[in-house]
Every structure is written in C-alpha cells, then in structure tokens.
Symmetry: C2
Subunit: 203 residues, 2 copies
Amino acid sequence: MAAYSSQLLENAVNQFASLPGVGSKTALRFVLNLLRRSESEVDDFAQVISKLKHEVHYCRECHNLSDAPVCTICANARRDHSTICVVENIRDVMAIENTQQYQGIYHVLGGVISPIDGIGPDNIEVESLVSRAMKPEVKEVIFALPTTMEGDTTCFYLYRKIAPRTELKITTIARGVAVGNELQYADEITLGKSLQNRTVFQQ
Amino acid sequence: MAAYSSQLLENAVNQFASLPGVGSKTALRFVLNLLRRSESEVDDFAQVISKLKHEVHYCRECHNLSDAPVCTICANARRDHSTICVVENIRDVMAIENTQQYQGIYHVLGGVISPIDGIGPDNIEVESLVSRAMKPEVKEVIFALPTTMEGDTTCFYLYRKIAPRTELKITTIARGVAVGNELQYADEITLGKSLQNRTVFQQ
C-alpha cells in the first residue's frame, strides 16, 4: 500500500507501523478504527499515551514501573522485605505476581548482561541491587532470570558481587518439567535438572 | 496478565487493547516499546493521532480521506472526471490506485447496504453518488463493490437509482480467475463468470 490520499493519514499509519510486529496494513486498520471513534475518544487515546511517558515513575527501590516514586509492592509493609526476587523486566514481575505465590519484593534489572548487544553491568541495575543486598534486613536474594547464556552470565556476575556477604541466602528458581508436560517432550537439560533437584514426595 | 504495577500503564495498555486484533499482551508490548522511546518521540506519536482525528477531511466530492476539503484525486484536472468508480471504503481506493490502471475519479460509499447490521441506503453515501451520476459530464459509473450479498444488494439499489439516466454507461469490475491462480482451485461461480465474460485473446 503506497498511495495514501492524506498526509495526516500516512503519518498516523507510519507511527503505528513503528510498533513491534505491526506492518502498514495492520497500522491502517488501527487508524481507520480510530477514525470511526468520536473526537473525545481519540483524544483520550492520545492523552493516555502521552501522560504515561511523562508521569510514569520507575520505583526508586526496585525499578518497577510505578505511579509514585516508590511502587505499591515496595511500599507495602505487609510484604516480606527480607526477600528480593531479581528479574529481567517488569513483565516478569507481572508473571510472578499472577502466581500469587510470592510475598517478597522485587528488583528489576531492566535487562541482562549481553556483551554482543553492548549491555554490560553498568547498563542495567546491578549496583543498586548490590547495595540493597548488603542491607542487614535482607536475608535472601532469588534469581529469576532467563536460562540463556546472557541470563546465566548475569547470575554468575551478580553472585560474585553479593556472595561476599556470607549470611545472605542466594537461590535461583527451580528448573524442571512444566506442570502438565509429558516427560518425552522435555529437553534433556530440563529433564536432567528436574532429576538433580528432585523434591520429597508429599501426598 | 492482571496485576499492573501502575495505573498509567494499565490505562495505556487498555487503550491499545481496544484496537482491532490487539490483546492485552500485545498492547503491553506496544506500551513497553513506547516507554523505551524519548519523550519527544512519544509526544509525536500521541500528537499525530490526535491531529489526524481533528484535521482530516472527508473529500466533499468523493468522501475519500483527505487533508483538504477536496481530495488530491478529485482536485487533479488531469484525471478523467467523466468516469466514477464506486467503492466501499478508502482501502479499496488505495488498492485501485496501486494498480496504476485507473485514471478516473472515485466515490467512497463508506459501507454497503446491510439490513442485518442496520445499514440502509441513508447511512452510506448513496444520495451524493446519485446526484453526481446525474451530471452531464459523467459518462460512466463503475461498480467495484464486494461480491457479497450486501455488495450485490448495493449494486442493484444503485443501479435502479442511476439507470434512469439512459446515456450513462454502468459497468462492474470483471470477476474471474485471479492471475497466477490454478483453475482447479477456483470456485465454480468465479470460474463460471470467467467463462461468461471471456475476452478476445490478444498476443
């Protein structure tokens, strides 16, 4: 689709087409959908986007997205502030929160160490994690990072930085066969880990 | 994904998720992508959307989207103003323009007659087409409407409205086997039409 009858239309299509996974046909579909809405609805749409960027905070404790300088999780006194779960990004926080199994607090690195992408320890929130982990009230740091080369590198790097505080417990989330998955389809590394880290059977 | 750490984030995700075919995970991906951009880029994004709705015109001749009261096609004196191609929506205009085979002008109905959806002749741009077709300088009206029940109904309705002007040529785009398609996969109606409307073979 090349010939747009309107420059305004073309600009809007190009903006939407700049979003990940959106081509010009999908972008046009979005724009035509917006055009069918009322002016106030479209203004709301535009305003919410602009407001998000201007007003959103990154929590000064855990770097999670937040409406206030400190996020609702860090500000919640009923959460266990002695346990910090280290994750790559805010999507991981949402995934863990949805399990409703975790009562501690988080630390969002904002990425993992990846020399090939030019991301070193200084580009992600490593220093702030190290200073948090040094606080006496912190008892445990859980690594919940991806099992990729980059994720593993980040785990080792963080471990070396925080292990000197010997009273700190450093753990990583369990790797094993997913609930509902069949053994024959699990890869060897996962299956091997699930055997190594077997737990006592409970009825 | 239920637990957003920020209301601003949730609002933005909900806005994007209101677009056709966008779920909350895709919407979150869009929003996180926007958050990684600079403030001025995000402001541009928001402004282009708002501007589109406030400043775009529907051409007063053909009802195509336009930056000015009359679109560039209708305003172009080098186009053949004696031929009007009737289409359902502006996407069809773009598709025909991309063929570079058509030199006439358009009429965008903004829909087809569909009693089941409550769309009657008064809800689409029928009256303005009839008055355009009555002008002496117009020699031909081409129907380029979908071959659905609704498209056919609209063609018949329009035909009855404009046929009284007997000097007007009323045509419809050819239906046949698509270029590159194999005969065995064409449906019977299309193949039948392609035989009925066979053309003289030219080398």
